[in-house]
């Protein structure tokens, strides 16, 4: 089984986990992306939402599980064919939530381009933006190295 290990700077990444954990509780109750089809009847939309929330919660749990004892001891996280798909989805969910709750002041154009002056941001926004970038890096790494596992599953 293909396994990718990434060594992270513990003092930099550990504080970002607090941001992810805080958002994880909200993601148990609310979808990261708005429910698309507007013409679903109420009962069907509720069932649809419930099923999506269950999957979203499991994905975010897989993301958080990556930061285990090995991470806190050695700063190492690992992805493999078993967790790649869930983590890639969870990073998308948390990034969408970060934008919704913390990064709106930056504006979508700036968010899309990534041209942000970190020093000029207030502390909470800077932390949220660093988390946003960190999760993008995780996502890109997985797509780069494990896309065939995801496509084949």
């Amino acid at each position: 089984m293909k396994r990718i290990e990434v060594k992270l700077a513990l003092p930099v990444v550990a504080p970002l986990l607090d941001v992810i954990r805080e958002l994880a509780s909200g993601l148990r109750q609310e979808l990261a992306a708005p429910l698309g089809p507007a013409d679903l009847d109420a009962e069907f939309a509720a069932a649809w939402t419930s099923e999506l929330l269950e999957a979203q919660t499991a994905d975010v749990a897989a993301l958080l599980a990556m930061f285990n004892e090995e991470f806190f001891a050695e700063g190492v996280i690992a992805f493999d064919e078993d967790n790649a798909e869930q983590i890639v989805r969870a990073t998308a969910a948390v990034r969408l939530r970060l934008r919704e709750l913390h990064l709106k002041p930056l504006g979508d154009e700036m968010l899309e381009s990534g041209n942000v002056e970190l020093e000029q941001l207030a502390d909470p926004v800077r932390k949220a933006f660093m988390c946003y970038l960190f999760l993008a890096t995780i996502q890109e790494l997985i797509i780069q190295h494990l896309d065939s596992s995801i496509l084949g599953s």
């Binding site: 992306a33 009847d41 069907f44 649809w48 999506l52 999957a55 998308a92 969408l96 968010l111 899309e112």
Partner: protein, 101 residues
């Protein structure tokens, strides 16, 4: 999991009215968002629709540049199933009846 099945339960009269409502071709439309990475959107299109790399990229660029891309069209039940799957991957997705476009 389809809406059409729940919609068509009940007496014969509502059944036929609703069946007419859901007939025809439905478009699965993915809308742009400023968050999801281009590489991620390409991966999702390949995974969900089985697109090759160039087709997936073409649709991703449509979403990015025009704000939307029609990624599939066909019967309502299957359109709903695709919308559900795309929602699992956190892409903003809507369904449109082809007559409405």
């Amino acid at each position: 999991m389809t809406q059409s099945q729940s919609k068509t339960q009940g007496s014969p009269a509502p059944h036929s009215a609703v069946a007419t409502e859901w007939e025809g071709r439905w478009l699965v439309v993915v809308l742009n968002d400023p968050v999801n990475l281009m590489s991620y959107v390409v991966l999702v299109f390949k995974k969900v629709f089985g697109f090759d790399e160039s087709t997936a990229r073409k649709h991703m660029l449509e979403v990015h540049e025009r704000g939307r891309s029609v990624v599939w069209s066909g019967v309502r039940e299957k359109a709903e199933a695709y919308a559900f799957t795309l929602q699992q991957w956190h892409l903003t997705t809507i369904l449109e009846h082809e007559d409405a476009t």
